[in-house]
């Protein structure tokens, strides 16, 4: 069964269409009242089209919020995602000309800000009201922290004067709440120091290892007016309050590294998040090609070395164990030696911007403190040319082996799909793969994200990153189920604006593969996507369950906690939110739905949710092989480090 695109039904005023009937109490049907269509209010384009207005000290002067907003604008804050609350601050930031988005829940807006940053490397912000809005963000602040996202978390509007007096709503001790999930945080209590603390925030966001910065903005600080900049502490420009200088490796250290690389027979670079953050992908490619060094990427975003490059080891899982030298560059979340697929004999070089982390979890032969870009600049220009035919051939053979494994699993999945009239996750993943990389679409174009459990394990390995910022592991490190679609709507906003590495693909649709458990957390943001005309295709693997249901095996009275109603219609819910919905149950239907959805996203900026109907039993390898095969790390589909 396939349901026709139905957004149009909603956009035009209808009397009593079938789709509309679903949203109307039965009793009222007979009276056939006119059903109003979903529309974008005129106020929206009007408001978005207004000219920015940065405050000045002249006349009435500037509020603390405006002063902070001016600093954000000077620092090129890339975007703000928020829900109303903290009004003075969000209004000031939006008015200052920072691209701002308002959505449906603070948690999702936090994930969206994270997603925007993950595909661009830029600093983004999220905001919510003091107590409830802020606490709603917690899961996604923690996820951003685990992913080392330079995310500015803003929340507040309570008064200092109300502290400890239980004065109605929203008081909360914010800073202790984010302990362990931020790089820096401060509750401002003195309005004259708003600029000074803004500088603190951006020093932390833009230098060293990135991570969330949480500023807590009581109303006294946000609303106090200043007509004289002299009343502010440390009021000077960014070139005075922070530096672009980075610790550089010494030439001798790079020479030591080059010596080890030259002596190695099968060297590999693990190009971590730092290579992406520092936009050092060109240098990486030159260095790798000159010396035929294999490269595999790691981190929450991939593509800073293309998966389709002959030296890429992202699919060469078996060859990882053959590497005799591993060079970690900018590996922000460091695995242990039993987590990455490298031989215990492989020697290790670690290049990292700060010394404190070098040697943690993984013993080193050579540690180099220094900027990733600085290191790769020297490596690219100084490393001698070298041919490593045997190593390159091994990478190719290993990649072919992985591809065969994935195709074998797909064949199994096809059989399971045919036998059950439901879609196996290996089939879903392969269909998405074929749409994005094997058809008419430029295989470098589409930004993807993936989350969920069974969903993510089967899909991650089929997604490709052929250019920087192309693919996001939504569950990276923290393992949160749920932020996926909101995160990818944020990423889509970055693509829509063509920010940084997204510039050549400005306006292209994006695609997220998520789960039925996951979509419940962020589905309402389809409203946000529609409102801002951000085109996303959300492929939802609907297996009627939290995929951890086998945990209930052997435990009485437990299984019910893991199950949902069966055959829920996420596609219909999407229609109710102003997106398209597609329902599919066979591989052929899925293929057609994907194609249709992509075309409509590309041409009309309309999002679609595709409900991929599956069975929970596909998770169980004893009933439906292959079951849960965890991703090989580092490599395609990795999500832990």
């Amino acid at each position: 069964m396939s349901i026709k695109p139905s957004r149009r039904n909603f956009l035009r005023p209808v009397a009593a269409g079938a789709a509309a009937a679903a949203f109307l109490p039965q009793a009222k049907l007979s009276a056939a009242p006119p059903i109003l269509s979903i529309t974008i209010p005129k106020d929206l384009p009007t408001s978005l089209g207004e000219n920015p207005k940065v405050g000045t000290f002249e006349g009435r002067g500037m509020t603390g919020a405006e002063i902070f907003a001016k600093l954000c604008k000077d620092e090129d804050l890339a975007a703000l995602f928020c829900c109303p609350g903290n009004y003075t601050v969000i209004n000031a930031i939006a008015a200052a000309g920072v691209p701002a988005y308002g959505g449906r829940s603070e948690g999702s807006m936090c994930a969206a800000a994270d997603g925007f940053s993950r595909v661009t490397g830029e600093v983004t912000a999220c905001s919510g009201t003091e107590g409830p809005g802020f606490t709603n963000m917690i899961m996604n602040i923690a996820a951003a922290n685990a992913a080392r996202t330079p995310l500015l978390v803003l929340a507040s509007n309570m008064e200092l004067a109300g502290d400890d007096r239980e004065k109605f709503i929203q008081t909360g001790y914010q800073q202790p709440t984010t302990t362990g999930m931020k790089k820096y945080g401060k509750r401002m209590i003195d309005a004259s120091r708003v600029w000074e603390y803004g500088a603190y925030a951006f020093r932390n966001l833009k230098t060293g290892i990135p991570g969330p910065v949480h500023l807590d903005f009581p109303t006294e600080v946000a609303r106090t007016r200043f007509t004289d900049s002299a009343k502010l502490t440390d009021y000077y420009t960014k070139d005075k309050y922070r530096t672009e200088s980075r610790a550089q490796p010494t030439r001798k250290e790079v020479e030591q590294a080059m010596d080890m690389i030259n002596k190695a027979e099968r060297p590999i670079i693990v190009a971590g998040q730092g290579v992406f953050q520092r936009k050092a992908w060109d240098q990486l490619k030159v260095a790798a090609e000159k010396n035929e060094i294999a490269v595999v990427t790691s981190g929450p975003t991939s593509g800073h070395f293309p998966d389709d490059h002959r030296l890429s080891a992202s699919l060469a899982h078996d060859a990882l164990m053959s590497a005799d030298l591993v060079v970690f560059i900018g590996q922000y979340a460091m695995p242990g030696r039993t987590e990455y697929h490298f031989s215990p004999d492989a020697k290790t070089i670690r290049v990292h911007p700060v010394a404190e982390d070098i040697g943690r979890n993984w013993p080193i032969e050579l540690g180099i403190v220094g900027d990733e870009k600085g290191f790769l600049d020297i490596l690219a220009s100084e490393i001698p040319r070298k041919k490593r035919d045997a190593w390159v051939a091994e990478l190719a053979a290993s990649k072919a082996k992985t591809e065969k494994r994935d195709l074998d699993h797909y064949e199994l999945g096809l059989k399971h799909s045919a036998a059950t009239n439901r879609i196996h996750p290996a089939v879903m993943a392969k269909e998405v793969h074929d749409l994005l990389y094997k058809g008419d679409i430029d295989p470098k174009q589409t930004v993807t994200g993936v989350g969920g459990w069974t969903t993510g394990i089967f899909t991650g390995r089929w997604l490709r990153a052929n250019r920087p910022g192309q693919s996001v592991a939504c569950v990276y490190q923290y393992g949160a189920i749920g932020p996926d679609m909101a995160m990818m709507i944020g990423a889509s906003a970055a693509v829509q604006r063509g920010i940084g590495p997204q510039a050549p693909y400005k306006g292209a649709p994006t695609l997220v593969v998520t789960s039925d458990a996951g979509i419940a957390y962020s589905m309402f943001e389809l409203d946000t996507a529609a409102k801002y005309k951000i085109p996303i295709i959300a492929v939802v693997y609907n297996n009627n369950s939290w995929g951890m249901f086998p945990a209930a095996n052997g435990s009485p009275r437990s299984l019910h906690m893991y199950l949902f109603q069966e055959n829920l219609r996420y596609d219909k819910m999407a229609e109710g939110l102003g997106a398209r919905g597609e329902y599919v149950q066979t591989p052929e239907e899925l293929r057609a739905a994907l194609k249709r959805s992509y075309q409509i996203a590309a041409k009309e900026n309309i999002s679609t949710l595709i409900n991929v109907q599956a069975l929970k039993e596909f998770t169980d390898g004893s009933k439906f092989a292959p079951g849960i095969a965890l991703p090989v790390e580092p490599g395609a589909g990795a999500f832990a480090h």
Binding site: R266, M321, T338, D345, G479, P550, A629, L630, V632
Partner: protein, 121 residues
């Protein structure tokens, strides 16, 4: 030292027999899994494996056994090159955990045997 799955492993060296032995590589192993394990181990000595990863059959004789559900692994250093044998044995153990156990079939086995949380694996 704690190693894979935060467990301790005994490695027994017998100079008289020129052997190195892990008495318990994996516990609670059912017969079909043991058969697959034997195949995996034999594969490490086959011509199909790249030379630098192959365990040279002229240098090492490998045997495994299944007793009370425990798999043990024995390396005999035919030429008494213990450094070679140890290095290959350690690498093989590493691959048992990172390659053999990870292919999907043994997910439930790992959770039960190593008493793991499903999210932590």
């Amino acid at each position: 030292m704690q190693w894979h799955k935060n467990r301790f492993y005994d490695l027994v060296f017998d100079a008289a027999k020129h052997s190195l032995r892990f008495p318990v590589v994996l516990p609670k192993v059912p017969r079909p899994m043991y058969e697959a394990f034997k195949e995996f181990v034999a594969g490490r000595q086959s011509e199909e494996v790249v030379a630098h990863r192959r365990i040279d059959p002229s240098k090492v004789r490998i045997s495994c056994s299944l007793k009370n559900g425990n798999i043990s692994l024995l390396f005999i250093a035919k030429d008494r090159d213990y450094e070679y044998a140890t290095q290959k044995l350690i690498n093989l153990m590493h691959e048992v955990f990172l390659v053999f156990l990870q292919d999907g079939l043994y997910y439930e086995y790992m959770i039960e045997t190593f008493n793991l949380d499903r999210d932590q694996i």
